[in-house]
Amino acid sequence: METVAEHSASADAAQPEAAPRKQPGAGSRIVALLGELMIIVGALLGLYVVWQLFYTDIEANSVQAQAVEELPWAYTAPITAGTVTGDEPQTIPDNLKLAPDTVPDIKEPKFGTTFATFYVPRWGEDYVKPISEGVDRHKILDKLGIGHYPHTGMPGELGNFAISAHRTTYGKPFHRIAELKKGDHLIVQTEDAWYVYRVTSHEIVRPTAVKVIAPVPNEPGAEPDDHYITLTSCHPMYSAAERYVVHGVLEYWSPTGNGIPQELMEVPS
């Protein structure tokens, strides 16, 4: 830049020597403009990274915490026994653990309604996230966290209760999805009931593999034969190239009001 400026200054010999660089030539002006545009583009890219990696977490975490708070029936005390001081919460007695085939039908709620909460002992003692209807990125997944695929089963239902959430950024509800092991508990609470699922398998698929949320996972068109749950999230982390999918089946359900599932209190091995 220095040499360009000097060159153009010397070409403009008519100017007085006191202010030799007052009128820089076209070349140096273009270079200066380019430099400034690059600074602006760099700042925008940097800001995008800050927004995506940090700000979305802050914003979505507060929205999700508030969504849980607004559900008067949602259980929000710590889960896993080691952390509970004083009286242990009452757990559901065995005779009220009801078989999957007695699950009552629930009507699918309106788009955007938060209708359930999700607990995973493997994911830490304070893990509780809301589940809302729909998998629209902007309205549901980027704010409310876990979304329920419309027209898949409702909690406990015969068929496949399929839910989706971010694995990174936006509060990352499924951040630790890859840590789930076969046999881990996935617990869903609605206003009327608890549903205790157990992880059976996981797989990594292409984003187009809608068969994973079929009523019988991976058998589209088949008649539902069990009470499945399916979690989908992105894979690998910070990428949208593939999907990480976890399947489970319902172990039992129980109406609310008789204590909490003892599985909430079990520290996963």
Binding site: P207, I213, C234
Partner: protein, 55 residues
């Protein structure tokens, strides 16, 4: 070029200009965070996690 031009367009003494600049930058960052970046992320499918076309 751009930066000196903006500086000379702004009215008032130096500290007033600086104040206006800071306020304008804050407003720009807020607009980007609230509207532009969410739109970019959804439109270009950055960080999608659902299966099928809905994500």
């Amino acid at each position: 070029m751009i930066f000196p031009a903006i500086w000379s367009i702004l009215p008032g003494p130096r500290w007033v200009r600086a104040l206006i600049l800071v306020a304008a930058l804050a407003a720009i960052v807020w607009l980007l965070f609230q509207y532009v970046f969410p739109w970019v992320s959804v439109t270009f499918g950055i960080q999608d996690q659902s299966v099928g076309g809905q994500g």
